[in-house]
């Protein structure tokens, strides 16, 4: 039986990278969004430039479940011969296979339990376009048109999107619209449209926006007042810096002089990038870098310097599959420990852990306040799923009254007024000392910054007492950070629940649905989403308040659990790990199944608590 579903299905596009499909697929997704139905598109792409398989998955969910759904897709748009067989095999029973029937499909290549929809796309385009590049591009547009017919997507919405995209280039608008129509019309004549899968106008999206986390983070840096960005390209973080550059080109050009109110440098490597950020932070600019695991590894020495010399630094770490070069185009949450304890010696760092683009925007902006307030590195822990996929998100908001918290910087006037300046004195009892900026007061407040031990007046010393004093102050400062960092967010089951689920970051996208699945199975659970390290004491309270607590992570080694036991003194025996680390985004089904399986009394937990 073909699947019947409206505004609740998954469609998967199988393409070859570099074939122009990304643009067409995005157009498709956006049209559904414009019709008001919530969507969650996800890219699965290889670590190369052209010619390898790439997939694009769009989940449509009226209920607003926007995590990866898992399981097979309901419909497959099979545009890649290389992966055809495996793609077809992965289709759900009752699903729909859409393919280019220019060449006939050998019977061995299909299945009996799916609906097969063949359209001679290549042939259609070959007839109309002579330029091979045009053929390929318009073939993509044609299948979008066909899908519109098959899924009942309003073709007018698609045309509107095309018109917006090519605004001012009427010839292109027309050409693209024509290709779209070509597919649409052909499908209408060829098939009984629509299929069992349908898109229907809805109000479910509301005023939400569709946006990538990396762009949101860059926007946060823009709004947060970043003036220096030093970076080195690395997947999946590159688009943070590149978006920032584009945004700055639009919003940071002085209208009077044309001068840029920003400096963006593509450094020679990550060590130089973080070095520039440290130099700029020391010199009073809001500075950041964006990188991924290998960059974080390379930056370690500088993180220790910034921690110990107390220099504000913002780092956006878009996590990918590790270790080493690992899986550069896959997602993971596996840099937690490295970032939390970055560098040798006793160090602890502040991590902000957004759940998606919305918080990526907020937390990146907030990171600059926190870094300056605390005079220390602050990490914004994104991951590839958040960063490089588009997510449906509440619109960004900004309070125009909001002022940047530049932290404890003594102005020349204040220097004149105070009795005594001690760069590393804890004047306020919060572990955060006062600093001065180079070039300010002509005779007061200059001090020497170094990574070596020094006393409260920034004088070099090798005495144990001032060293210990300073290290204890830094530990106290970390307690201040604990107070300032965003608190965890509770999703309550309503009624008292024995099960508690702790999660963080991109897992949030699947959590509501997982909770619903569990509730359906009679397992009511509360969920607590961690949003920062140092960890809030509320997390300990949550653990104590539940009989059974699961910690869901997208890494192999239960890194958050280690942070919880280390930072909060929780008993690891009270925390059951659910670990997903294959590089694809975690799904609600995975979480719900794992929780349920572990609650079965018979099931002895395997040594290594993971599942693919």
């Amino acid at each position: 039986m073909p699947i019947e579903a409206t505004n609740d299905f998954v469609i998967r596009f199988a393409n070859v990278n570099g074939s122009g499909s990304a643009s067409a697929n995005l157009l498709f997704a956006k049209a559904i969004l414009r019709m008001g139905a919530p969507i969650a598109p996800r890219n699965i792409f290889p670590s190369n430039i052209q010619g390898l398989p790439t997939w694009y998955e769009v989940r449509v969910s009226e209920r607003g479940f926007l995590g990866a759904r898992g399981g097979g897709a309901d419909m497959l748009v099979a545009m890649n011969a290389q992966t055809f067989a495996q793609d077809v095999a992965a289709l759900s029973v009752g699903g729909y296979l859409f393919y280019d029937s220019t060449r006939p499909l050998p019977p061995t290549m299909t299945r009996g339990d799916i609906a097969v929809i063949g359209m001679p796309l290549t042939e259609l385009c070959a007839a109309r376009y002579s330029d091979p590049r045009q053929r390929q591009l318009y073939r993509n547009m044609a299948y979008v048109g066909a899908l519109a017919a098959l899924l009942d997507i309003e073709v007018g919405v698609l045309e509107e999107l095309i018109a917006e995209r090519f605004k001012g280039k009427d010839k292109l608008i027309e050409a693209n619209a024509r290709a779209l129509r070509l597919g649409f019309d052909d499908a209408k004549t060829r098939f009984a449209c629509p299929l069992g899968l349908r898109v229907r106008r809805s109000e479910a999206v509301g005023d939400r926006i569709l946006v990538e986390g990396n762009y949101a983070s860059a926007l946060g840096a823009l709004y947060g007042g970043a003036t220096v960005c030093a970076w080195y390209p690395i997947t999946p973080s590159t688009s943070v810096a590149e978006s920032f550059e584009r945004l700055a080109g639009r919003y940071r050009v002085d209208p009077a002089t044309g001068g840029k109110n920003v400096a963006i440098v593509q450094a020679e490597d990550e060590i130089a990038a973080i070095g520039m950020v440290v130099g700029a932070g020391w010199n009073g600019a809001r500075a950041f870098t964006a990188t991924s695991g290998p960059g974080v590894s390379l930056m370690q020495e500088f993180f220790g310097l910034a921690y110990f010399a107390e220099v504000p630094v913002v780092v956006v770490d878009v996590q990918r599959g590790g270790p080493s070069t690992g899986m550069p185009t896959r997602t993971q949450q596996s840099d937690l420990i490295l970032c939390a304890f970055a560098s040798h010696g006793d160090t602890k760092h502040v991590l902000l852990i957004p759940d998606g683009p919305g918080e990526a925007f907020e937390f990146t902006a907030a990171a600059f306040d926190l870094a300056e307030r605390l005079q220390t590195p602050v990490f914004v822990m994104l991951d590839l799923d958040i960063g490089m996929n588009s997510h449906l998100t509440e619109p960004f908001r900004w309070d125009d009254e909001r002022l940047y918290d530049r932290g404890k910087v003594l102005s020349p006037r204040q220097l004149d007024e105070i009795v005594e300046f001690g760069r590393y004195k804890d004047v306020d009892g919060d572990g955060v000392p006062y600093r001065t900026l180079p070039g300010g007061h002509p005779t007061l407040g200059a001090y020497f910054t170094r990574g070596t031990s020094r006393d409260r007046y920034a004088r070099y010393t090798e005495d144990p007492a001032p060293y210990v004093d300073n290290m204890e102050r830094l530990a106290l400062k970390f307690e201040t950070a604990r107070r300032l960092a965003p608190a965890p967010v509770l999703t309550s089951a309503g009624a008292p629940a024995p099960i508690g689920i702790v999660h963080f970051g991109s897992t949030a996208a699947a959590m509501d649905e997982a909770l619903a699945l569990l509730a359906d199975a009679g397992l009511a659970a509360d969920a607590l989403r961690i949003r920062a390290f140092p960890l809030s004491p509320d997390i300990a309270g949550f653990v104590r308040a539940h009989e059974r607590v699961f910690v869901v992570e997208q890494n192999r080694d239960a890194q958050m659990k280690t942070l919880m036991t280390s930072d909060l003194g929780l008993d690891p025996a009270d925390l059951t790990s659910i670990l997903h680390f294959g590089g694809s985004p975690i799904t609600a089904r995975f979480i719900a199944d794992a929780v349920a399986a572990r609650l079965k009394p018979a099931a002895a937990p395997p040594i290594l608590e993971d599942v693919t």
Binding site: L33, D207, R208, I209, L210, V211, L219, L222, G225, T227, V228, A230, Y251, D254, T257, G258, G259, K260, N261, V262, I264, V265, A267, E268, I271, A272, I274, G275, M276, V278, G279, A280, G281, W282, N283, G284, A285, A287, E301, F302, F396, R397, W398, D399, R402, Y404, P412, T436, P438, G439, G440, P442, T443, A446, Y447, F448, T449, R450, G451, Y460
Partner: protein
């Protein structure tokens, strides 16, 4: 903000510069280097140059890496902010500082280990990027602070000449700087105040990346095989299995010689280096000529000192970036934050 200095009261007979500062105002805390270390002479030259230039001390930022040489910023310009960063990475830290505030004068101090070994990549890139700064390498051919291992620069103290490689090909930082696009490149000797001070002053005036390679003898570690003469005595008397634990203070080496002249300088360990001071003949505006000169001198074993290369038509980093004229660290919400209305427009574009 007041940018004008406020010199403390002092005896009227002490000479002051146009800002009213005395030389002392450009000094720092007491050196903890070995008595006679060439680095201290360079510190003195920097103090001298800044005093004579009447730089407002607080408008100078001094940055360094790690090493004996990199410690010296503590011993100069006590009223300037300083940053003793990490080993070999001063160039990037200085670059960042320069991005944050283009109005200050930046002095980068480094050693040959710090720059030519661990820091070589950053050195090259800071030069090609055209960061406006004075970058000094206090070049002693060894790692002083870690007790005398060879560094990657020429074994200048070595007696042997042609074909005499201290294991690996020595790195000529001045030649590299020229090749990589530094627009002011000079070489001098720590004890040649007469040459060094004017070079420093010119470098501070340069609108781009200025590099000075200063040969600066390490009085303590002289690893040159066959040139242990003056240290034999001490070595022999040492009971410790480990390296030197007896270091005698020496007089710093001071020299003074004319333009165009050659001078053989005897180092503390008895080795000799051959300096040649460039004269007016040298066309420092010709990059190829400067490189050829360095290459030819390498073959003969002479070390040319003076201004090797200068290009006044500089496009420095902020020019390239098109940065606003105001220091970035002085911008406020008004210039930086596009505000709620712009955000609403952005939201609209994302639906």
């Amino acid at each position: 903000m007041t940018f004008q200095g406020k010199p403390k009261f002092r005896h009227p007979s002490i000479p002051t510069n146009t800002l009213g500062f005395t030389r002392r105002d450009y000094e720092g805390s007491m050196s903890t280097l070995c008595a006679g270390c060439g680095h201290d002479s360079i510190t003195a030259a920097i103090v001298h140059a800044c005093f004579e230039l009447a730089l407002p001390p607080h408008r100078v930022a001094k940055l360094s890496g790690i090493g004996c040489s990199s410690k010296t910023p503590t011993y100069m310009l006590g009223q300037s902010h300083g940053f003793n960063s990490v080993h070999g990475r001063m160039p990037s830290v200085l670059t960042g500082a320069y991005l944050a505030n283009r109005e200050l004068a930046y002095l980068g101090v480094s050693g040959d280990g710090d720059t030519a070994s661990i820091g070589l990549g950053q050195f090259c890139h800071v030069m090609r990027r055209g960061v406006r700064m004075v970058y000094i390498v206090e070049n002693n051919g060894v790692y002083g602070l870690t007790k005398g291992q060879f560094s990657a620069t020429a074994d200048r103290g070595s007696k042997s000449k042609k074909g005499a490689r201290a294991a690996d090909e020595p790195i000529d930082l001045a030649a590299l700087a020229i090749q990589l696009g530094a627009t002011f490149v000079a070489r001098s000797f720590s004890g040649d105040k007469g040459q060094l001070v004017p070079l420093l002053k010119a470098a501070f005036g340069h609108r781009g990346a200025a590099f000075i390679d200063v040969i600066s003898p390490c009085v303590t570690f002289n690893n040159h095989e066959g040139s242990t003469k003056s240290y034999d005595y001490v070595r022999e008397h040492n009971i410790a299995v480990s390296a030197l634990d007896f270091i005698t203070g020496r007089e710093p080496i001071e020299i003074d010689y004319a333009e165009g002249a050659a001078l053989a300088v005897t180092m503390h360990d008895g080795a000799t280096i051959h300096l040649r001071k460039l004269d007016a003949e040298h066309d420092f505006s010709d990059r190829a000529a400067a490189l050829t000169l360095l290459e030819r001198c390498r073959e003969t074993g002479e070390i040319p000192t003076g201004l090797l290369y200068l290009d006044d038509d500089v496009e420095e980093l902020h020019d390239t970036l098109g940065t606003t004229a105001r220091p970035l660290n002085a911008l406020t919400e008004a210039e930086l934050c596009p505000g709620a209305k712009a955000l609403e427009a952005i939201n609209r574009g994302l639906r």
